[in-house]
Symmetry: C2
Subunit: 253 residues, 2 copies
């Protein structure tokens, strides 16, 4: 048995989310089916995070155990060949030690949320960004975002379906910047609650629109009450950008 770490890019518009489920296509199932086609083995693909329906990834990290002798290069190529025409791509594949776990070894996750701030509808970015027609004040959003950085009870920003044992999480970075008519929100933490990034972005957008003050955001956080959530941003603009792991002395290729 060899453990392979995968770096996966996918277009969330085609899937019910990362996790395998009965009622629709998932990224996990697409990769597991491709692995079966390549190896004849029924395997489970474990990911750093479970993304929701409509959420994308540029660099989701995952791992899979394969018995068949195959190099990392050949496995990556073969998975990509079998994944077509699904919008899922294995952008990197490497051998890792048996105790390397995409989810449990992960030290940090990074997301990016993309807003297009203009009146005109989206064209090729439809489903790949959140269009907000009213002008957003990105500087005010960034300033307010700093209230969420650090260790807090994020109950307000947590889905009712969240399975995390605790609502307390530690946000390492939450940065908002404008690039022309685009507003990019970068979020980094060891881990996030279900819907946490979308809920934080939704409330920051209220601040950017002038409908919430920074104090309103602080009150919502301190209330630790989901009913105080101002707005949950749509999945469209959310991208899983990468995961961080302990450095390894030697990385086998």
């Amino acid at each position: 048995m060899t453990r392979f770490a995968l770096t996966v890019e996918f277009d969330g518009r085609s899937f019910m989310g990362w996790q395998r489920q009965d009622h629709g296509p998932s990224v996990q199932q697409a990769i597991e089916d491709a692995a079966f086609a390549v190896t004849g083995e029924r395997t489970t693909v474990h990911a750093a995070g479970r993304t929701d329906a409509g959420v994308h990834a540029t660099a989701m990290r995952a791992h899979v155990d394969i018995a068949k002798p195959i190099t990392a290069f050949r496995l990556g190529e073969a998975l990509n060949a079998r994944l077509r025409p699904n919008p899922v791509a294995i952008v990197a594949c490497e051998v890792v030690p048996d105790d390397w776990h995409a989810r449990f070894s992960c030290l940090g996750r990074a997301y990016e949320y993309r807003i297009v701030n203009r009146r005109a509808p989206l064209t090729w970015e439809k489903g790949l960004a959140w269009q907000v027609a009213q002008p957003l004040d990105a500087a005010a959003m960034h300033d307010a975002a700093q209230l969420l950085v650090g260790r807090h009870d994020f109950t307000t920003f947590r889905s009712a379906h969240c399975q995390s044992a605790s609502p307390v999480k530690s946000i390492d970075r939450l940065a908002v910047r404008r690039e022309g008519d685009r507003i990019m929100v970068e979020a980094a933490a060891r881990s996030f609650l279900h819907h946490q990034v979308r809920s934080m972005v939704g409330c920051l957008a209220l601040v950017g629109l002038g409908r919430w003050s920074a104090a309103d955001l602080r009150d919502a956080l301190e209330a630790a009450n989901r009913a105080r959530l101002g707005l949950n941003a749509p999945p469209d603009g959310l991208f899983f950008m990468g995961a961080r792991y302990p450095a390894r002395p030697e990385a086998a290729a």
Copy 2:
């Protein structure tokens, strides 16, 4: 009659190109049909450039004459409402003088060509970039590109269907840069021949792959012979990025 200048974004995957034609959907027709729905007037929309099937635009410039009294803001909003669900968006609309012509007043056009240089297939960028699996040397491409800058006979880089009176054009800028696994080619000129940007990018890719030297590129240019074209890049990666016009003393809104 009021003349309105439009700035148009569109996803070329849905169209046979900019220009109205009998055998399939065009961006021009989509906008003209939307204008008819808004005003009841059958108008012609003139663009700064005619893009091919599969070519995109972030900021195509165009103009249209409307008799019905309507403000630029209302016209832009109404066109966008009627353009749905076509992937075409009017991102700006303004009143211009009657002698302002999107094509004939245009002083310069800018294109960007996007290459994703990796083995893995594209996911959400499918049709929005050219995937090149073998490693490209962007610095070599940029150096060779400088041979094409300036005034030359571009017969080698011109489609057999090109209707331009002369094959002589003057390239103001042709810059190649790498950003991670992306290679971006920026091209600017007063005007381009049919297929010129795609043909230049295709041959620069041969240089980047090491299959052509810079001298091969120079020889192909100097041959002024379409048969010497090395490669025509696919339309997927090509974006019309903007057009330049003479400054106007006052711009009416």
